[in-house]
Symmetry: C2
Subunit: 379 residues, 2 copies
């Protein structure tokens, strides 16, 4: 029996997101330790000359040049000598300071300091960042780009990242390529495929599934190697909304079904073996917003990244009324840093969705103009 | 001659970003018009029965069921009859309202309304969203996921999106796999490749380039079909910083070289035929931050998306001092919504970069605790 009234016992969005996050495995990540002193030698921090600070402003004869990567053993700095040196190069024996190129004159192979160098000037000291064996990052920290670099830095590079495979399939007998008036085209399929692509997934778009439990079950039993299947439609309480029952029949673990969000109440997430099923509502705005909320969380967990926070905050330029006990995501344009509510026509309104910059989070009974609310940016 | 002091005439970051944005082409995008009325027929907005409102609470005999996509010509609703109908299905002739399933009782093929239906109740009227020919979206609007869906909806789907090809190459003779104390490993290559991958590009990591103008020129002349080449190093004023001169020799258009940002002063962007070169500084923090600022802008423009805004705002939990006339991006952790400045060791400090959640924008002479500043979230 369909129930269209709101229920206070529907799962709040944050709990649904937390369940999804908790259910998915993250790749293990080991601690990161310095494999050697960092820097491994005293290095020039600027372009200039490497010299003995104790000889003050005395002119020095240039012995040669050290570039980053050069072996400094080629030179030894003694009283009256110096070595031209580039940022990142190791200091030659005898030198204890860098005099930057701006602080010296040079004539015929001699440099004339215009400032008095002090020991350690513009030198990155060996071990100044870390000593060999130091813990640089504990185990099981979320992965990010900088941490990828740190692992490469200590000689333990990660394999090149791969994209999570995501399949997208709409459901519904009404979806056809050349629709009669009582039929429609599938816009959710291209939409969800574009979203998954933009979020970095390797996307496979599948033909729309008919409203038939057998076909649906077959598609779920044979996911074709994808990690996530996003469907739209078939999760509500209509007579053709077969997905929840089919998933249960197949022995899937339902992570949640029905959440406290408008639009998006029938949202479903389930695990069937290694397959995560995100069962999105069929209405375009609802499918879009729920995919925007749930897919980034699933991808981040599976890729070992931190839980994404999609929310920003801004003021409403005009009031938004809201009846009902589910929080509302209301379409807005963003102008001058303010959220301007758009006169949307509900969860089937693809035109307003296409014009929106953001969706503002509105709790009942609504928000006044000037209220600071959180919002999602559209992608 | 190297200049390490700050210059007020360095290009501000926002101008550099604007130049990059302006220099790159965006794919053309046509206007979107409704190809037919939307909805193309009167549709049920809820599960229930389709009936004649003027017959009020009188019981009706059920003629059958209409699912979404069914041809409604199968039924005609006459006085005393009704048709069970699912959300999205077209109304049969004669019916002018939907009575939701919650507002009726059903016994032996008859329904008994528990409420008085009114004409138009729970009906999405033909053309209620748009009429055939209506302009739904003007030409040359930035592309996004929702607009992809809208185009599919009106029968003008876009081809599946493709990933921009980006090559990544570090430069520097000091980069080796098994470094001696005066050498280092290449961490920028994996870092920039991971960033480009995370931003949705199709990434090709190339071997580090030596500090040699000929090799550099050869690499630039033969980009191997990539649209963007990101290099790190070789853009400063050291004797081995060959990239700017090599680009000029090849006839490249230098979009900018040197910006008002710390770290990141030597940042360079150039166009060489169809190749965009992002010449990032060599220090890891500097390379990271400049890639995080510039690459998303380039990808967005080339993909036809809107200019991304990476900035969020939060309060500083502690003061940050800053000398010098370039704005500083200072590493912070994010806790309880506040920015906690980290004691970073400058632009070579990969460890602090790996621990940071965000980089706060600090203008000289610094910011007090409690100041609201803009920040970038690390990826």
């Amino acid at each position: 029996m369909a129930m269209s009234c709101d229920h206070p016992d529907l799962l709040p969005l944050d709990e649904a997101l937390a369940r999804l996050w908790a259910a998915l495995p993250a790749p293990a990540s080991s601690e990161v330790r310095a494999d050697r002193d960092d820097p491994a030698a005293d290095l020039a921090a600027m372009d200039g000359v490497a010299l003995r600070s104790e000889d003050g402003r005395a002119p020095r004869r240039l012995l040669g040049t050290l570039y980053a990567g050069d072996d400094p053993a080629a030179f030894t700095v003694t009283p009256g000598t110096a070595v031209r040196i580039m940022t990142g190069a190791a200091l030659p024996a005898g030198a204890d300071a860098i005099l930057p190129v701006e602080q010296l004159h040079e004539t015929e192979g001699q440099i004339h300091p215009q400032a008095i160098p002090e020991a350690g000037d513009h030198v990155r000291r060996r071990g100044g960042q870390a000593c060999a064996g130091d813990l640089l990052l504990p185990a099981d920290q979320p992965l990010n780009v900088a941490r990828t670099a740190l692992r490469a830095w200590v000689g333990r590079p990660l394999p090149p990242p791969r994209r999570i495979r995501v399949a997208v399939a709409s459901t519904g007998d009404e979806l056809v390529t050349d629709p009669l008036p009582h039929q429609i085209r599938d816009s959710n399929g291209p939409m969800l495929a574009a979203l998954a692509h933009a979020l970095g997934a390797d996307v496979e778009r599948r033909p729309a599934l008919p409203d038939d439990p057998e076909t649906l079950a077959a598609a779920l039993r044979n996911p074709g190697g994808v990690r996530i299947l996003m469907t739209s439609g078939g999760v509500s309480m209509g007579e053709h909304d077969h997905l929840p029952a089919v998933l249960k029949d197949l022995g899937a673990t339902i992570l949640f079904h029905k959440i406290r969000l408008k639009p998006g109440k029938p949202m479903l997430a389930a695990q069937l073996g290694d397959l995560l099923v995100l069962g999105l509502p069929g209405n375009p705005v609802s499918a879009y917003l729920n995919a925007l909320l749930f897919l980034p969380v699933a991808l981040a967990k599976l890729e070992g990244r931190a839980l994404p926070d999609p929310w920003r905050r801004a003021r409403l330029a005009a009031p938004v009324k809201h009846k009902g006990d589910r929080p509302l995501l209301h379409p807005c344009s963003l102008e001058d840093g303010q959220l301007h509510p758009l006169p949307g026509k509900g969860s089937a309104d693809l035109v307003t969705l296409a014009r929106a910059d953001a969706f503002a989070w509105i709790e009942a009974p609504g928000q006044e103009a000037g209220a600071r609310v959180r919002y999602l940016t559209v992608m």
